[in-house]
Amino acid sequence: MSGTYLGLPSFPDAAHTSTHDTQLRANLTHATHTIRTKRATAINELPDWPQLRTAGAAIKDHTLHHLDHYLLQLETAVTNAGGTVHWATDADEANRITTHIIHTTGETEVVKVKSMATQETGLNEALHTAGIHAYETDLAELIVQLAHDKPSHILVPAIHKNRTEIRDIFHNEMAHWGRPAPDHLTDNPTDLAEAARLHLREKFLRTKIGISGANFMIAETGTLVVVESEGNGRMCLTLPDTLISIVGIEKIIPTFQDLEVFLQTLPRSSTAERMNPYTTMWTGTTTHDGPKNFHLILLDNGRTDTLADTTGRQALRCIRCSACLNVCPVYERAGGHAYGSPYPGPIGAILTPQLRGTTTPLDASLPYASTLCGACYDVCPVAINIPEILVHLRERVVQGGPVTVRGTRTTIKPAKGHAAERAAMRAGRWTLDHPTAWSATQRMAGATRRLHPRRLPLPGPAKAWSDARDLPEVPAQGFRAWWQQREKDTQRGKGEQK
């Protein structure tokens, strides 16, 4: 995956900074709560929502079970329609293929449709190294790019910025990338949108190569689909001569009719719209409006390894709606950057450690970036049981076990730094499996209760608790002891009655 996010601290460390950033917290709380409320209203309008959810999950599961079949069918359809299909095992290969295609045309500039796949491969940085300028055209991606920042949300990449910050970014940076921002730019949303429109239009008309991802790929027809709100994507998909689409292999669905389900669930889950404003579909090349050359790069980058895991593979159903981010109380407080991956929030916490592995401290910390409250599972339009996968991946972190890496079954060791916890869990389990020992622990806790402090200065989990929370007082008599006493008293009472 991209080098962009490497070197970031583990989730708890990153979250330590972001939870104390009051402006960020306010921006995120406002944005996520607004979209959360609107989404709930949009979903409630559909009486058949549960059925749509089940249907979406079933279509995706079916496709994933027969992925080899549908990918070959897609390759044939795309080739027959005049396109060229490339297969990329990992991010580097996808970037190499893309760079090679662009070099062949002699161009040095590309316009980009907002795409998670190219965030994942770190394409912009790879193109920069190869002397190619990649221009993001999605408004929020443009803001992030101009700010030399990273996206922090799947759907709203600049969710962490407010409009005053955006005005300053436009004012200071646009001139370095193309048409400058108008003088005396205000932070009025209409003025900001107009500045972006003028800046981008120049690029749309000049640039000969467009790069996109896709929301869906239809196997039977070889058609790719992008759904968006601004229309900037459609400009990139139709104006340039050459179109390169880099798409994760899990984005495939069998038939055109299957779209019917997702074009209902995706907009309502993501932007709370009944229908997204722009749905663009393209099939191979065309002699009319649209690309004369079309390259489809099918990206694996850990997806077949994920597919090999019977629990974790549900994550490949994801249609990137970001409903789980907007409802997640952890994402709301920690912010998207804390996840150190293009995929933040609950889906990022299960997808990233599967695509990248759990070897770095950051990736090993992601499955723990959740309270398992289950709100993400409730809103997921393809019913990914995110809490189940989180616990499954936690097991991989602390116990190791069988995984598939680049198609080969292997057994990984536990991630470092869990020895003390493992010992404590074992000891705890042993005590709990021996009621006499458990009872003795309880008696001892009760007997020494006067000595228990309400806060602990020692390092470790106890300090993490008691830094800002009092520890509970241990009662003199636990429930077990009380019950035994009551039983004795009852027996004695019966004896006396006789």
Binding site: A375, W465, R469, E473, P475, G478
Partner: protein
């Protein structure tokens, strides 16, 4: 009807009043309750932290301890959800790894008879007015596992609304997680506290004097924050409110101090 109380390890050790309240309440409603001493913990702390193998003996222990009872009632949505949602999964995985040894049968026996307290009252005993009296202003935090994994719905609120003298205050953002999350509270202390502080602020905004929940694990976290900040709000388990009557009003007896 043979009914056993699964008090849970947290209540057994820290909140015996909750267990006593369940016994008092059920006996008042004519149910004879037993407490099998072989019970300990449902295994959720281990399971949710990734130690699935450590959970297997506790699944077996649970099934053995409650063998022969018609119902197992527990004052914890989280522990009930652990049994109902995860025991079959744990057994299935153990079998797939060649370690079943009767675990599937144990899980299958445990799951259908395990009830969270409010479910047992409303669904099995078919009561919402349990004859309680509690003259205080109360706000209710529905814990995530009860809310989402068990689907407790309106049951706890219906029970509270029927309590004589009780004024129920609406909690803003009630369905949002409080930030406890078991080991999450210490693995991600900053986010946990940020969530807890927001929950506490909403609870204080209600003006209630009691923050009530049906899961002491959430309450231990919220109570820790409230006490550290000397906030004028006390946490209390739902069972203790339902056990309170005009003749025998709620009185914390075991610690002599506020929770």
């Amino acid at each position: 009807m043979r009914v056993a109380l699964f008090v849970t390890c947290v209540n057994d050790l820290l909140y015996p009043d909750t267990g006593r309240a369940v016994v008092t309440l059920l006996e008042r409603l004519g149910v004879e309750v037993d407490f099998p001493a072989a019970q300990t913990c449902c295994g959720q702390p281990q399971f949710n932290t990734g130690y699935r193998h450590e959970t297997e003996p506790l699944v077996r222990r649970y099934a053995d301890a409650f063998d022969g009872y018609d119902y197992v009632v527990t004052p914890s949505g989280s522990c009930a959800a652990m049994v109902r949602d995860n025991y079959p999964r744990i057994a299935e995985r153990a079998a797939a790894e060649g370690r079943d040894d009767g675990l599937a049968a144990a899980a299958a026996a445990a799951v259908p008879k395990t009830y969270e307290l409010t479910e047992f009252l409303v669904d099995v005993l078919e009561v919402t007015d349990v004859g309680a009296y509690f003259p205080h202003t109360v706000t209710y935090h529905p814990s995530c596992h009860g809310l989402r994994m068990l689907g407790l719905g309106e049951r706890p609120r219906k029970l509270l609304q029927a309590v004589k003298g009780l004024e129920l205050r609406e909690l803003d953002g009630a369905e949002e997680c409080c930030g406890f999350g078991g080991t999450f509270a210490v693995k991600n202390p900053d986010v946990s506290l940020a969530m807890g502080h927001d929950k506490v602020r909403h609870a204080l905004d209600t003006g209630a004097t009691i923050l009530c929940g049906a899961d002491n694990s959430c309450l231990v976290h919220l109570d820790g924050i409230l006490r550290r900040n000397h906030a004028p709000l006390h946490t209390l388990h739902l069972a203790e409110i339902l056990a309170s009557t005009e003749q025998h009003p709620y009185q914390p007896t075991t610690t002599g101090a506020t929770r």
